[in-house]
Symmetry: C2
Subunit: 269 residues, 2 copies
């Protein structure tokens, strides 16, 4: 049985000083450096693999301080505060002694409580009834995901016409399919192409600066979801002076909200 | 001329080791410890006052690792990476040698670009035509803000009936009015009462765990807004196993989007 490329990509080797050593993965290469979703997943993995880790991820924020160079990196996760059932982490990734990522994470033990999903999954055709995106992918990492666009696919005409809105909805999963876990869910939270290209199709340079992921799913819900499709929805709220935000949600096919996420993206023109 | 209570609350004294010393403010006291919005504002202020600071705030994430005790705290801001026109910061707040807050911030110089506000300000009556919330405030910090609820005010009947949604819209500003800056805008991003009380009026214990603020406004826009009202809108996306998220937007009276913000909140029942 072969190892899934995602597992190879996020693998970390513990070092004697408590840090971890990782490698960028050619299978998840972006235009410059690696796909940020995998970098975020590696940052989370440094906490997940840490011997002092308590509970499961509930919140993660990563800041991309510089484009990662292809090759090795070190990542440290420090438990800044451990409470009875919660834990706060500070994360840092370095290459050649320079910081390339900063982050924080909040982990905890979950309890049964009253609950409700307030943001409902939109009414869309089932994944199997939506055509898979084809055509030549501009970058390698895109080939690691099956994407079925319900609305707002990557523009075909880069004519710069303001679309008035930036929403995209798509079914997505790892390719080949892989049972969902917190690490892959983190990467899946970043698969949306930049909203500035959707709102106004011009191939301006872009780069995610910061991303926050709120995990509403616990381990049982992830296992129940397995390797089935997730519905992703994303849209921007504002584009202003070189930066825009994009919010996103990920539901499983049963309509359960697994993740809400937000990111801030640099754009140039 | 007297000093505004907010300026007293967020004041920091630089220490010889590069850290800052602050004090919680009785004027912004919460049920237990201080109002988290002011704590977040103090964290941001440690970067704003730092001699190596480059540019203006674009993104801030704070994690509340423990309830602050009333009294003194120290806060350190470390420039983890400085690029040509951007800068990444790591922030930590301590009391009695224990971490009470972790955070990261992204600062930068802004440039003129194409832009658009995608999330429009909702159609609501003007601030002066909406009654100011009255009644006895349960906590002190609420008295430091003028709040005019358009929709979804704090429940009167705590009957536990599921409202089906959690949206609140209100006009708000500092009381007494104070010209807007990045520090006060940070605190204003956290004035919304917890969505779990709105969705299902039961006074369950709550506490913000993490908050991210994306600043779409630059200094010129803040100055243009001055001490006029902001319209705030907030709602939850999911309540699950002890945690819920809430998203929010703040516009000025001209309908310009100043901030988008998200937080994750603990709730018990």
């Amino acid at each position: 049985m072969s190892v899934h490329p995602f597992d190879l990509a996020v693998a970390l080797q513990p070092q004697a000083d408590g840090s971890f050593l990782g490698q960028t993965s050619p299978a998840y290469a972006n235009m410059v450096g690696p796909f940020g979703g995998v970098t975020a997943a590696q940052a989370l993995n440094a906490v997940l693999l840490h011997p002092q880790r308590l509970g499961d991820p509930i919140s993660l924020t990563v800041n991309f301080a510089a484009a990662l160079a292809d090759g090795a990196f070190s990542v440290t996760a420090r438990p800044a505060r451990t409470n009875r059932s919660t834990q706060h982490w500070v994360i840092e990734m370095q290459q050649q002694g320079e910081v390339v990522l900063t982050g924080t994470a909040f982990f905890g033990l979950r309890r049964d409580t009253w609950g409700a999903d307030e943001h409902p999954m939109p009414n869309v055709p089932a994944a199997v009834d939506v055509a898979r995106a084809s055509g030549s992918a501009r970058v390698e990492w895109v080939k690691r995901y099956e994407m079925r666009f319900v609305e707002g696919a990557i523009p075909v005409q880069w004519d710069g016409a303001d679309q008035g809105q930036s929403r995209t909805r798509l079914w997505l999963r790892d390719d080949p399919p892989r049972p969902l876990d917190f690490v892959s869910l983190t990467a899946l939270s970043d698969v949306f192409f930049p909203r500035v290209w959707r709102r106004r199709p011009v191939l301006v340079p872009v780069g995610t600066v910061a991303m926050t992921v709120y995990y509403h799913a616990d381990l049982a819900l992830l296992q129940r979801t397995g390797s089935t499709y997730l519905l992703g929805q994303t849209e921007a709220q504002a584009f202003r002076n070189g930066y825009f935000d994009q919010t996103a949600q990920l539901w499983n096919e049963a309509g359960e909200l697994l993740v809400t996420t937000h990111q801030l993206v640099y754009y140039k023109e």
